[in-house]
């Protein structure tokens, strides 16, 4: 529903603005161009997306995802005290974080939900999120993808000289953004908000 409102507002703004600015002709042409662009963008992204999804499936089948999850156990124990004793919970959090790292958003979501439910059960809270559930959700709303394949696909479809040259910037920014989320979470927790 939110998307429908957003779309309506966008179109209304464009039409009103075009009438007052006298750009109605360009605006109507833009409508058709945009629709056309959507399909050509998707088509030119398709190759990179399919290749990357294939590689990620190879990672999953060869057990690399679990290897990565095992590496993540220690930092997860530090961030989620409940997970130190509960092996299954720690496994879920580790698997969801490692799935996110590999860009497997679809696999990460159910694991995050299961971990959040378990964290809520442990805390005994019903409506309000426990501090650990807050931290888990904050982490889940930060992008921690190692290879931003979709963005590289868009860049390649637009003719970028080197679609992956933004990698170091993306990694640095991801770390800064996640650190900010974790720091804010710990700070809010301390002040019992």
């Amino acid at each position: 529903m939110a998307m429908s409102v957003l779309l309506g507002v966008m179109m209304l703004c464009a039409i009103l603005f075009a009438v007052f600015q006298g750009t109605a002709a360009e605006m109507s042409a833009g409508l058709l161009d945009g629709a056309k662009e959507a399909v050509s963008l998707a088509l030119s992204m398709a190759g990179v997306i399919c290749l990357w999804c294939g590689v990620v499936e190879v990672m999953r089948r060869s057990g690399l995802t679990e290897k990565l999850a095992a590496l993540l156990r220690l930092p997860i124990g530090a961030l989620f005290p409940e997970a130190r004793k509960d092996g299954a919970l720690r496994g879920d959090i580790a698997a969801s974080v490692s799935a996110n790292l590999l860009g497997l958003g679809n696999a990460a979501t159910p694991l995050s939900i299961r971990a959040a439910t378990r964290l809520q059960d442990i805390s005994g809270r019903t409506g309000a999120a426990s501090d650990s559930a807050c931290m888990l959700t904050i982490l889940g709303s930060c992008s921690i993808q190692v290879i931003p394949a979709t963005i590289a696909a868009v860049r390649s479809s637009q003719g970028a000289a080197n679609p992956f040259d933004i990698l170091p910037a993306v990694w640095a920014v991801t770390v800064i953004s996640c650190a900010m989320g974790v720091a804010a979470g710990l700070l809010f927790k301390r002040f019992r908000l």
């Binding site: 998307m3 957003l6 779309l7 966008m10 179109m11 464009a14 039409i15 603005f17 075009a18 600015q21 833009g30 409508l31 945009g34 662009e37 959507a38 399909v39 998707a42 992204m45 398709a46 997306i49 990357w52 999804c53 294939g54 590689v55 990620v56 499936e57 190879v58 089948r61 057990g63 690399l64 979501t109 939900i113 959040a116 439910t117 409506g127 807050c134 959700t137 904050i138 709303s141 930060c142 993808q145 290879i147 931003p148 963005i151 860049r155 637009q158 003719g159 992956f164 990698l167 170091p168 910037a169 993306v170 920014v173 953004s177 900010m180 989320g181 804010a184 979470g185 809010f188 908000l193």
Partner: protein
């Protein structure tokens, strides 16, 4: 440059590792690629109306006027004002942000400062409100306490850092 080797090396080592583990690599690649097609099939229908609406906003002159309006605040933060529409859509809609980002790359140049900043912002942030509502909704959390402020702070730090990183690395 080492960055140009990261992706090929990563893909090659994943395939080699899988071969050593006895995985049928080719069939895994194919079944993953089929998932990729499904992902595309899911986002294309959303991209069509969104890109049409964004192209209308661009052609009517609205996006430019909006960027001009945001210019003082964005310049103070060091973010290209042209990226303002992306910052607004990003936390709410993944396909919307992709549409805005692709449009920015097309109209300003994919290797321009604006195009690169848009790409880094897209690659290093998430659809915050969507992620929070999915996880909390399914886990039965009704009071999200400080989740939204903390997540939005993380996004905000990401936007500023994205602009700064692109300025330092590509200027």
């Amino acid at each position: 440059m080492i960055w140009q080797l990261v992706t090929p090396l990563l893909i090659a080592s994943v395939i080699l590792y899988a071969l050593l583990r006895g995985v049928d690599v080719f069939s895994a690649l194919i079944s993953g690629a089929r998932d990729g097609l499904n992902v595309l099939l899911r986002i294309v229908p959303a991209l069509v109306p969104l890109l049409a609406a964004i192209a209308m906003l661009r052609a009517s002159g609205f996006l430019e006027a909006f960027s001009d309006l945001c210019r003082p605040a964005f310049q103070w933060l060091g973010i290209p004002p042209e990226c303002a529409p992306l910052l607004i859509v990003r936390p709410f809609s993944g396909s919307g942000a992709l549409a805005v980002g692709a449009e920015l790359m097309r109209s300003h140049g994919v290797d321009s400062m604006v195009g690169r900043t848009a790409a880094v912002m897209l690659g290093s942030t998430e659809t915050t409100f969507y992620a929070v509502s999915v996880i909390c909704g399914a886990a039965g959390i009704t009071k999200t306490r400080y989740i939204i402020p903390a997540s939005l702070l993380a996004d905000f730090a990401g936007y500023i850092a994205a602009a700064a990183a692109v300025r330092w690395l590509f200027a």
